[in-house]
């Protein structure tokens, strides 16, 4: 009897004391590299004697939205979420994230965060999330192929005109069997996301846009139409890209580039690590996407980090967030994998400095644009359908632009 009593007492003391280890922050992220930050944070908390611990849950890309929806409705949302940037407007509008305006503005690094991307974490001037992991769309080119074609390997095309001229020289039938073995260019396909990430910069670079600053649809413009025509002509008129590339996903183009069948490749910062591993002898360069009558533009993709409205300990969450943005966290977790940091001041780190191709990214980050829409997922549909129709040569650009704009306007008004 007394033994049982002692055991129960000890157990209750143990349980009560474990209650004192108050906060476990649940963090959702797509990138496994965040584990490093979490570990470092937990170490730091331990050393500082604070009862805050972080726990990371990796969310696959296809579950990013549904899982969050399910968790929100069951009131089991995580404390922090590194969610894809384009999803934020919708989720902020339904109250899923915490207002962190004053605290964010006081952060020492606040001013260097890319403003174009910051907008997507804001509503009515209030801030709910900050740019976190960055993905930018860029043009990569095979320097060896440029040399072979008699072009300057250090001069990538900067304009549409140059893209076509160089592309023609780079599209070759090497063995004379009537089948082209090396293409100058590939379109980007495999989903509307690809069009947004790689084709929108062509519209932006032509001084056009999908939405204006107030969120109105302005796709119905000569500039956008010209961009659509240009992409279609790359296949059908200038013949520097194969018809099948309309459906080429990121992986297909990557395979073509790596196996020496493609000279210029629409990719992103995320290709650099694998390129160096899969094709160590392939000397390649990174440049902004060619422009026409506008300025250089790139799609500001990636994630924002926000504290959800179902977080029970916002102060602890802020502590984690501040740490996640620190130089020690960012450089040690993300820079080794050549992931882009949201703080340009940190770009001069030892990992980036080893890779010559990383140089241009600080500049390219300055060109980043991110479309803002509450119905981003829904507009994928008309964008995919009408743009693909044009590229396949099944619809005239003027008609496609008009119909696409109409449908987007319809969706926005629902």
């Amino acid at each position: 009897m007394p033994r049982k009593l002692i055991i129960t007492l000890l157990l209750s003391i143990f349980l009560l004391s474990s209650l004192a280890i108050s906060t476990t922050l649940v963090i959702w992220d797509q990138r496994p590299q965040t584990e490093t930050i979490v570990k470092m944070f937990n170490e730091k908390m331990k050393n500082e004697g604070k009862d805050i611990r972080a726990k990371l849950e990796i969310i696959p890309y296809d579950q990013m939205v549904p899982k969050f929806m399910a968790a929100l409705s069951a009131r089991r949302a995580p404390d922090l979420y590194a969610l894809d940037i384009i999803q934020y407007p919708y989720f902020i509008s339904i109250g899923a994230f915490e207002d962190i305006t004053e605290w964010a503005k006081d952060l020492p690094f606040f001013d260097e965060l890319p403003q174009g991307m910051m907008k997507l974490g804001m509503k009515d001037g209030r801030i709910y999330a900050l740019p976190f992991q960055i993905d930018l769309s860029v043009l990569l080119w095979n320097k060896g192929m440029f040399k072979e074609a008699g072009l300057d390997p250090e001069q990538p095309p900067q304009t549409w005109y140059e893209l076509v001229e160089m592309g023609k020289k780079l599209t070759v039938d090497k063995d004379g069997d009537g089948v082209i073995d090396q293409w100058g260019f590939n379109l980007a396909g495999g989903g509307a996301g690809a069009y947004m990430f790689w084709f929108m910069p062509f519209i932006w670079g032509n001084d056009g846009n999908m939405f204006d600053d107030e969120g109105n649809v302005v796709l119905d413009s000569f500039e956008a139409e010209q961009a659509l025509t240009f992409w279609r002509d790359l296949i059908h008129k200038y013949k520097i890209a194969p018809l099948s590339s309309v459906q080429y996903g990121s992986g297909d183009r990557y395979n073509a580039f790596v196996s020496g069948r493609l000279a210029m490749f629409l990719g992103g910062n995320f290709n650099i690590t694998s390129l160096r591993k899969d094709a160590p002898d392939l000397d390649f360069g990174v440049a902004p996407i060619p422009k026409n009558r506008g300025e250089f533009a790139t799609f500001g993709g990636g994630t924002l980090l926000g504290i959800t409205s179902q977080c029970n300990d916002v102060e602890a969450a802020k502590e984690y967030m501040k740490f996640a943005y620190s130089e020690e966290a960012m450089v040690n977790a993300y820079a080794p994998n050549l992931m882009l940091l949201p703080r340009p001041s940190l770009y001069n780190n030892k990992y980036y400095n080893e890779i010559p191709q990383m140089e241009r990214f600080a500049e390219i980050l300055g060109y980043a644009v991110t479309p803002f829409s509450l119905k981003y997922n829904e507009i994928y549909d008309p964008v995919l359908y009408y743009f693909e129709s044009v590229f396949l040569g099944k619809m005239e650009p003027a008609e496609a632009i008009k119909k696409c704009t109409e449908e987007i306007k319809n969706l926005m008004s629902k």
């Binding site: 939205v65 549904p66 929806m69 929100l72 409705s73 339904i94 109250g95 899923a96 009537g178 089948v179 495999g190 989903g191 018809l243 099948s244 309309v246 459906q247 297909d252 395979n255 073509a256 196996s259 069948r261 997922n377 829904e378 549909d381 995919l384 359908y385 693909e388 129709s389 396949l392 099944k394």
Partner: protein
């Protein structure tokens, strides 16, 4: 008396594991999906009753009809691709011997693997840059340029169907073999004595007697075609231009990409109705033959 009630009690007890599962994970969801189809679901907040609005929206949605059409066309293409070879093979392999057992195994083998594995297998063969099919056809001078098989609407439908036929005809073949083995040889002998030729035997004896079996195999196969998801999701993602997006893919998109659960539920109910209708019609068609 007590024996009987005891027996009944045990009967219910033994059936209870299945009953519990069925009630929770089948009957309740079946009831729930109908309820949800009449509601508008929000992520945060209560759901409200909106009557037939979801149904109206579904039936007036272009993409719904497109998905239905895609699925129907696919079923129409793949079913003969499955059954014509299946009937031929079943007839050739109906007698059981070492030889036929070997062939039966070969043709049934693809049925055991997953649709995911099969889809990637064939996607690799159909690859426009490095695929086996283009290489074979170009080497045989049947085509001069590599073809992006999964990139065109009809070619995608046909090529995916070829993969599905490869994967599932073994199953129909086995069912038909069982049906063939159930036909008494005496009937054939009698016909032969009467001077019937092989094709006459096939047309007037085999086919009619095989009807119920074929109908059954058809129901299973066509129902399966309407449920198509895995292979289109992996091989074409519904493209090009959404011409290979099936009904189940559409439900998945509405419910889990747009999180419009009410609309998704309505479409699910319509989908269920269509499937039950198809099965019913086929059963009826089979029933007529028995007269």
């Amino acid at each position: 008396m007590r024996q009987r009630t005891r027996k009944a009690f045990l009967g219910i007890l033994f059936l209870s594991p299945a009953l519990v599962m069925v009630s929770i994970f089948f009957l309740y969801p079946l009831f729930k999906v109908v309820m949800m189809s009449f509601q508008k679901w929000q992520v945060l907040g209560a759901s409200e009753f909106i009557g037939l609005e979801n149904y109206k929206e579904a039936l007036s949605d272009n993409e719904f009809w497109k998905s239905l059409w895609n699925t129907t066309i696919y079923a129409a293409i793949v079913t003969p691709m499955i059954f014509l070879p299946a009937i031929f093979l079943a007839t050739a392999l109906k007698k059981t011997s070492k030889k036929t057992k070997f062939f039966r195994t070969v043709f049934f083998l693809p049925y055991a693997i997953s649709f995911v594995a099969a889809s990637y297998m064939w996607k690799w063969i159909y690859n426009d840059m490095y695929g086996l099919l283009n290489y074979a056809l170009i080497s045989m001078n049947l085509i001069s340029q590599p073809i992006n098989w999964l990139g065109g609407t009809w070619s995608a439908r046909v090529m995916v169907s070829i993969m599905v036929a490869w994967k599932t005809l073994g199953f129909s073949m086995i069912i038909i073999i069982a049906g063939l083995q159930g036909i008494s040889p005496a009937i054939y002998e009698a016909a032969r004595i009467d001077g019937a030729k092989k094709w006459q035997e096939f047309r007037f004896i085999t086919l009619p007697l095989l009807r119920p079996t074929i109908i059954l195999a058809l129901i299973i196969s066509i129902a399966g075609s309407f449920k198509a998801f895995d292979h289109f999701y992996i091989m074409t993602q519904g493209g090009p231009l959404k011409t290979t997006q099936t009904i189940v893919m559409y439900i998945n998109k509405i419910a889990f990409d747009y999180y419009n659960l009410g609309l998704g539920a309505a479409i699910s109910v319509i989908f269920l109705g269509i499937l039950l209708f198809i099965s019913y019609m086929q059963l009826k068609a089979g029933g007529f033959s028995n007269e």
